[in-house]
Symmetry: C2
Subunit: 510 residues, 2 copies
């Protein structure tokens, strides 16, 4: 393409005509919830092979370290225990549990405008957890994350349109006591956002008090069960192929109290799962299915995200790494496997290895977000703000990720083909008329309806960019973070509820 002359000419003409157009569109051309699935990393025969392998693993190898209550419930439904004490789950049992499992449900925000509809191939991005360090904007270095950071991240996520829910993305490492940690985390979610939220419970005994806190926030006992706006992140099955007793207890308590469950398998290639991608997916599918069996044995149809998050180890260091082609394609495939079973799929993306808010970070995040989103993952976790292979979180990254996810949603929305969009009449008119499409009604309608106009991205010419200070994306993001956090508190937690919660729980000042 020769741009020297032709582009300069077009730019000139375009700029002249631009004044004829309308103001910047306000409507979002591609809000969260776009339907993915146009990217199919696995063929149907491959999906069948992996699924069959998972059923085989459950029936023949089974799950180890089985809590008595689980063994009893499973035996009552046809499972058996082998000579090593492993719980074998026959195919018929697993299929019965899948058939009775929740397929679609509403994940509530406290504000119903933030409700999201989970299922089919609708795609939403949100946060996961849990970093233990934060990239400090002032120094560009990492330091331990605090409750103040968590509160700030919650407020940021509340303001960013493409983050559909907020799970506490970092740990308040300034709180030692695990009960104080869990309740302050829950309180930070209440204060920061009215979107759907997620958290983790260190012990089963923490669930009840926190649901009580949520009831207070909603106005009285029993209210949370009516509008369960917070889901629990739990890993009741530990790779490879065994139960984790504490997490099973948390699971059962969440079921009892009506807390939706995000059942996460986070195996790591070559460490806790095979390094071969297909074998990894077979094992982690089996593990996530065993989590589904656990939940549905006790509460058929209980809202549960089928979260199969394949993670990758770098051979050279033995450390987890979150960026690259393998982790992107595996998470996309995990979504495809879950969607094929009709289950609400949870995967992970945007887990950059980058420490700086730099080109590596942008590329790692966009590659995995594009592939998991396009594959139709229902809930894509870790999608905003995470850095340093999930060890870190960054405010600047969160606002940049939000915009990147907007572009992914735009790409997922795809291309509508009909007589109006084919626009043969408009083409004829332009070709036989002025020789361009600028300012035409057909053009203006599409420009308002079909295009995403980014707010943080720099689209200036080089000279204009230099005149404005030659800032990079991190610098622009830092300013946006400051703007959002400088805004008055949104009032998501009423003062009287806040006071009642502070009277009842050890909430830190601030």
């Amino acid at each position: 393409m020769e741009r020297r002359e032709s582009t300069a000419r077009r730019r000139g003409r375009a700029t002249r005509v631009a004044s004829r157009r309308g103001p910047e569109p306000e409507a979002n051309p591609a809000p969260p919830g776009q339907s993915g699935g146009r990217y199919a990393p696995l063929t149907e025969p491959e999906l069948v092979q992996i699924t069959e392998a998972a059923f085989t693993l459950l029936a023949e190898l089974g799950i180890g370290e089985v809590p008595a209550v689980v063994r009893e419930a499973a035996h009552a439904r046809g499972a058996s225990t082998d000579e090593r004490g492993r719980l074998r789950l026959p195919r018929a049992l697993v299929e019965e549990m899948v058939a009775g499992a929740a397929k679609e449900f509403t994940f509530h925000g406290r504000d119903p405008r933030h409700d999201i509809s989970i299922g089919a191939e609708r795609v939403h991005f949100g946060t996961g957890g849990a970093a233990v360090q934060v990239l400090e904007p002032e120094t560009g270095r990492y330091r331990p994350s605090t409750l103040a950071d968590l509160r700030a991240f919650a407020r940021l996520a509340d303001a960013l349109p493409n983050i559909s829910w907020f799970t506490r993305c970092c740990i308040a490492t300034d709180i030692e006591d695990s009960f104080a940690l869990d309740v302050n985390t829950a309180h930070a979610l209440l204060c920061g956002t009215a979107k759907p939220v997620g958290t983790a419970f260190t012990l089963a005994s923490h669930v009840g008090p926190i649901i009580e806190m949520f009831d207070i926030a909603l106005g009285g006992p029993g209210r949370f069960r009516e509008r369960p706006f917070c889901k629990a992140h739990i890993s009741p099955v530990i790779s490879p192929m065994r139960f984790g007793e504490d997490a099973v207890e948390v699971t059962l308590e969440c079921i009892r109290l009506g807390v939706p469950i995000n059942c996460i398998i986070a195996a790591q290639s070559g460490a806790t799962a095979p390094a071969t991608l297909a074998g990894f997916l077979a094992q982690s599918l089996a593990e996530t299915l065993s989590g589904l069996v656990l939940v549905n044995l006790f509460a058929p149809g209980h809202p549960m995200i089928f979260s199969n998050w394949p993670l990758v180890i770098d051979l050279r260091t033995g450390a987890f790494c979150g960026g690259g082609g393998e982790i992107s394609v595996m998470n996309a495939a995990a979504a495809q496997l879950a969607n094929r079973l009709g289950l609400p799929s949870g995967v992970a993306c945007s887990m950059a290895d980058a420490k700086a808010v730099d080109a590596q970070m942008g590329a790692e995040k966009a590659l995995s977000a594009a592939l998991t989103g396009m594959a139709g993952a229902n809930m894509v976790y870790e999608a905003a703000g995470m850095t340093a292979s999930l060890l870190g979180a960054s405010f600047e990254a969160m606002v940049l990720d939000d915009e990147m996810l907007g572009h992914v949603h735009r790409a997922i929305r795809g291309i509508e083909v009909n007589d109006e969009t084919l626009g043969l009449g408009a083409i004829r008119e332009a070709v036989l008329g002025e020789g361009h499409f600028l300012g035409a009604a057909h053009t203006m309608a599409a420009m308002q309806r079909d295009y995403l106009y980014p707010k943080l991205a720099d689209r200036d010419a080089p000279a204009v960019w230099a005149e404005k200070g030659a800032r990079d994306a991190a610098a622009r993001a830092r300013e946006r973070v400051r703007e959002i956090l400088a805004a008055p508190d949104a009032g998501h937690l009423a003062p009287e509820a806040d006071a009642a919660i502070r009277a009842r729980f050890p909430i830190r000042p601030g």
Copy 2:
């Protein structure tokens, strides 16, 4: 996911076991030429609708500003001229030309190890052109690009494994005379790389002398025709729907001299093509087909890349912008439309709007590279080094893009599913044995065979990264650029050939 304890534990164990593993793998797990197509932005009915609309446009609206030689040749094959002088191309003629067009061919490097096989859904990334500014590493600002820059970019591209060919990515703006510009550009390609290359010819009269130069480089008259290692970038059809006379002349001269043709349509949404995505694709497909008719009227089966590069205008400024969801999905769809016709598809990606080598750049580039690659585009242009909406080029961006493209190739390679990769035996052994997969033969084989280990990406823990100087990707890239350019000249142009060329052509010193 709770990482605080479990990850630390795993990292420790993994590090201990890492010493049991082998050295870093040397083999590339996903070289260029992976087969895409798992992402289908358009359904088959949508592909049919758009293709039908393109045929309708060619038959009813036709192409304007028709050179006499083209009109004559087309009339002889059944085309007609309407009352406005537009050349109408009936469907039968277009289908006949498509049937006789080159479907697959080898794009040669001067070094046969760099030959690439174009066709089916094999994916290669390379450069396009042509920036007029360069991001100067020393200042972080843009300045006009020079012949020295072009020579450096050619050497960089030669060293980077995921750049399959090199088209002059920037213009030597320090050369005024168009003949001197074209011959110095061609000479820079000869000196810098033995990969396949591409260039543009300002005038038809420049083609002959430059092919003579290429013959000298290869050892004598007629040698280029035997191994045509350079293709011409030409836009003989100008949007909307008219011929460009100069470029048609260049096209015919390239045909005469055996130069493969990259026939580029680079329409801009809302300016020279409809703003509706479907209408844009219908028009630009019609235009690219008219280019194909042009070439095949005169030389049936002449090697031609069917390059349909949808570009986007930002409503707010009227300027071309290269990043975002729309341009990514449109280029992916353009590849799908061409591949469906069996034609060698050319599209564009990585056309970041970013000026700095920053997170915006990384995200814009990866999103479009992932989608165009996954859609199975055969030749993805502009894929490395381009910045500032194609106005700029950056050395740092080129080396970072190369690594990003490696990850895209890895993702395209996908997931092999068979008994070995499902590895049920390995899973059983790990679960019933040590409880992990570290160091197992099955793991080590996969780690060597299936994983891409990036060289520029930072995968250190935050503290290690800080100890090493907290560098960002741009800084690491700058160092890599220096290393590559500091290496001795690769000797791609023999001294005696260089002397003969300098004696015959106005080659600048250096």
